[in-house]
């Protein structure tokens, strides 16, 4: 087999909700080979390894000692991403980090510097553009189906996060709450559809006050774009849903995930629904799988990743500005993104010059 076609050896770090999602997608993806998994919660990692038929590593060191592991996929609590990614890149491994890339902008900029200096691929899980519904909205907007957009609303909701055993989501310093953890997807959509916002105003409950309950409302100002309003909820007892609406001079486009299942199953009251239904195999359209394919191809010398570190920083700083706006009870202006990166690049050049 040509080296360029060889599957990328991958280890999944963190065996929680997102680690399991990625493991299932990786198992069905021909462009990667799932070597093994490691997580701080050993039982969780062991179960995931068993489910996906891969190895369970006993430490992060062991992962990085394994020559089969070319890349790590980091799906741990947000505040731990930077350290794990830095260690991986120091060990010469490509890294894919779940979104949000890091908890702070400084940590994300550090990752950017290290990735640039090392030449390793650093991907970030900005998966939303791989979802067909959001691509369909993008296509409709590009066709001009609603004319000139005037007001756009994006949101997602779920129950208060209780899936992580240590409940790290309820610690704002680890997760950033619903604004940073969830609305970053909707920030992606605003940037993808309409361009870079220049101002943020937001009100946020904060996930550290009521056992993880959180609610965030944000308004983004995009020059020559529509009014963009985002809503995120970790207070939705019905479970997960997402929605989008764009209204323009010629019409409106409306999407709500609720009630749009191509397949649904419920057991009768007399039967146990937990055991009856086999889980679906991830299909060709699996957004997480397609994201992994792009990551693998970037490593093998393909096209640049859509969700690269620059994109991730662009979205993270907006999500963080929501928290800042809430703290200040005021509008937070955003520096033009190209100026932020120009400053970073100049700083890198100075360091490189100093070393030379």
């Amino acid at each position: 087999m040509e080296d360029a076609e060889r599957p990328v050896g991958l280890a999944i770090i963190g065996a929680g909700l997102m680690g399991s999602q990625h493991a299932a997608s990786a198992s069905a993806c021909r462009d990667v080979h799932l070597v093994g998994t490691w997580g701080a919660d050993a039982d969780q990692a062991a179960q995931l390894a068993q489910r996906t038929g891969c190895e369970r590593f006993s430490s992060y060191e062991q992962v990085l000692d394994d020559p089969r592991v070319e890349a790590v996929l980091i799906a741990t609590p947000t505040s731990t991403h930077d350290e794990l990614a830095l260690i991986a890149m120091a060990a010469g491994r490509h890294a894919f980090v779940e979104k949000p890339v890091t908890r702070t902008l400084e940590d994300a900029l550090t990752l950017r510097r290290v990735a640039r200096a090392s030449g390793l691929v650093l991907g970030v899980g900005h998966v939303i553009r791989y979802f067909p519904e959001y691509r369909a909205i993008r296509d409709a907007l590009e066709r001009g189906d609603v004319g000139t957009p005037a007001v756009a609303t994006f949101g997602r909701r779920c129950q208060q996060p209780d899936w992580a055993p240590d409940r790290w989501h309820t610690d704002m310093s680890r997760s950033g709450g619903v604004a940073v953890d969830m609305l970053i997807h909707d920030v992606d959509l605003v940037r993808w559809y309409f361009g870079e916002p220049t101002e943020v105003y937001a009100r946020v409950v904060g996930s550290d006050r009521h056992e993880g309950l959180d609610y965030a409302l944000a308004t983004l100002t995009v020059p020559d774009g529509p009014i963009c309003h985002l809503h995120g909820s970790w207070a939705e007892p019905e479970g997960f849903s997402q929605s989008a609406e764009v209204c323009g001079s010629d019409g409106m486009l409306s999407y709500d995930s609720r009630g749009r299942d191509e397949f649904s199953f419920m057991a009768h009251a007399t039967h146990d629904s937990a055991t009856a239904l086999p889980p679906p195999p991830p299909g060709e359209q699996d957004p997480f799988g397609r994201q992994l394919v792009d990551f693998a191809r970037a490593i093998r010398g393909g096209a640049p990743l859509p969700g690269d570190i620059d994109w991730a920083i662009g979205s993270l700083r907006i999500a963080l500005a929501m928290l800042e706006s809430n703290d200040q009870r005021d509008v937070v202006p955003l520096e033009p993104l190209h100026e932020l990166f120009a400053r970073e690049d100049a700083a890198m050049a100075t360091i490189a010059g100093g070393v030379a």
């Binding site: 957009p149 005037a150 007001v151 309950l213 409302l217 308004t219 100002t221 009014i227």
Partner: protein, 322 residues
């Protein structure tokens, strides 16, 4: 109860008149200055204002926003209980005149949302602790562009923010027994370039209790939308979530003659009729405060004025405390 209508050009005028007739009131006439509107009005005879104020026991003020304060002042000066369309004033100057010259005890403001059965149920549930401590809310009061004078600043004083924010801002104050302290708003005018007011607007509100909410009041529903718009509200608290959608009860009608999907409502809960019944009872019984008080209507307009100040300044602005 003999009811007169001052001004017929608000889109609600005809519906209010119909409710009066259906709720046991007697329509005794209307006033209208505009020739086209005079020609279009068929529900009662048209008379001049002084004569109507003589004939009537109660008044409904349903002209343009610009006409409102003058009509409310005239009606309350004649000592008549008055149902005033919303918003209570077209702008800050008109609001100042209203505060100076109208008799607050005689005014009820036509904010029907709180009369919807779903809203009343929500208020009871919140008071009973069903959602615990209320934290935040999100609402939409979208509409189609109402047309005509609503798009002219001279007649309306503002666009979609002026027309629709008050319904849900007032409903939230009423649901929570709370008041609004600050507003941040963005507005755009993209859909109807011939108007001189905004057609889209989103406002974020802070309340005295720490509660916050956003309201999308945009005239963003296209002409092809199945109905005039929506009223929708979600409130979250520490113990639960309430969602209110008074227009959810509708059939879907696919009609080739209309060439668009249409909603056919089937709820027997009519918030406008409930509001008119409450007004007729207020006019009969004359309690010290009306079911939607002058102060509440003024507060709703103060919220809209803060929203416009925010659109101009680009920052959140305080709501006037009175």
């Amino acid at each position: 109860m003999k009811v007169g209508i001052l001004g017929t050009r608000h889109v609600h005028a005809d519906g209010l008149a119909e409710c009066v007739a259906n709720c046991g009131g007697t329509l005794v006439g209307a006033t209208e200055r505009d020739a086209d509107a005079r020609a279009a009005w068929t529900r009662t005879e048209l008379v001049d204002r002084d004569e109507l104020l003589e004939r009537a026991d109660a008044i409904i003020v349903a002209g343009t926003n610009r006409e409102r304060v003058d009509d409310v002042v005239a009606a309350t000066s004649a000592g008549l209980p008055t149902l005033a369309e919303k918003p209570v004033a077209a702008d800050a100057d008109e609001l100042a005149r209203l505060l100076d010259e109208a008799d607050p005890a005689l005014v009820m403001v036509a904010l029907p949302v709180r009369f919807a059965a779903s809203l009343r149920r929500a208020r009871t549930a919140i008071a009973a602790g069903a959602i615990g401590t209320p934290l935040a809310a999100r609402g939409t009061n979208h509409g189609q562009f109402p047309g005509g004078w609503f798009g002219r600043r001279a007649d309306a004083g503002g666009g979609a923010l002026q027309d629709h924010v008050v319904h849900l801002s007032d409903a939230l104050c009423w649901l929570l027994d709370d008041r609004i302290t600050r507003a941040y708003a963005r507005a755009s005018q993209v859909m109807h370039p011939d108007n001189d007011v905004e057609d889209c607007g989103v406002v974020t509100l802070d309340f005295e209790s720490g509660f916050f909410a956003s309201i999308d009041s945009s005239w963003s529903r296209p002409a092809s939308f199945p109905t005039w718009g929506d009223v929708w509200l979600e409130l979250v608290g520490t113990a639960g979530r309430i969602r209110i959608d008074p227009m959810a009860t509708h059939l879907d009608l696919y009609s080739d003659s209309a060439a668009k999907l249409q909603h056919v409502g089937y709820s027997d809960d009519d918030m406008t009729a409930a509001m008119v019944r409450a007004f007729l009872e207020f006019a009969r019984e004359r309690p010290t405060t009306s079911p939607v008080s002058f102060a509440e209507g003024v507060h709703a307009s103060d919220v809209v004025l803060a929203a416009y100040a925010s659109v101009d300044s680009g920052r959140p602005e305080p709501v006037t405390t009175r």
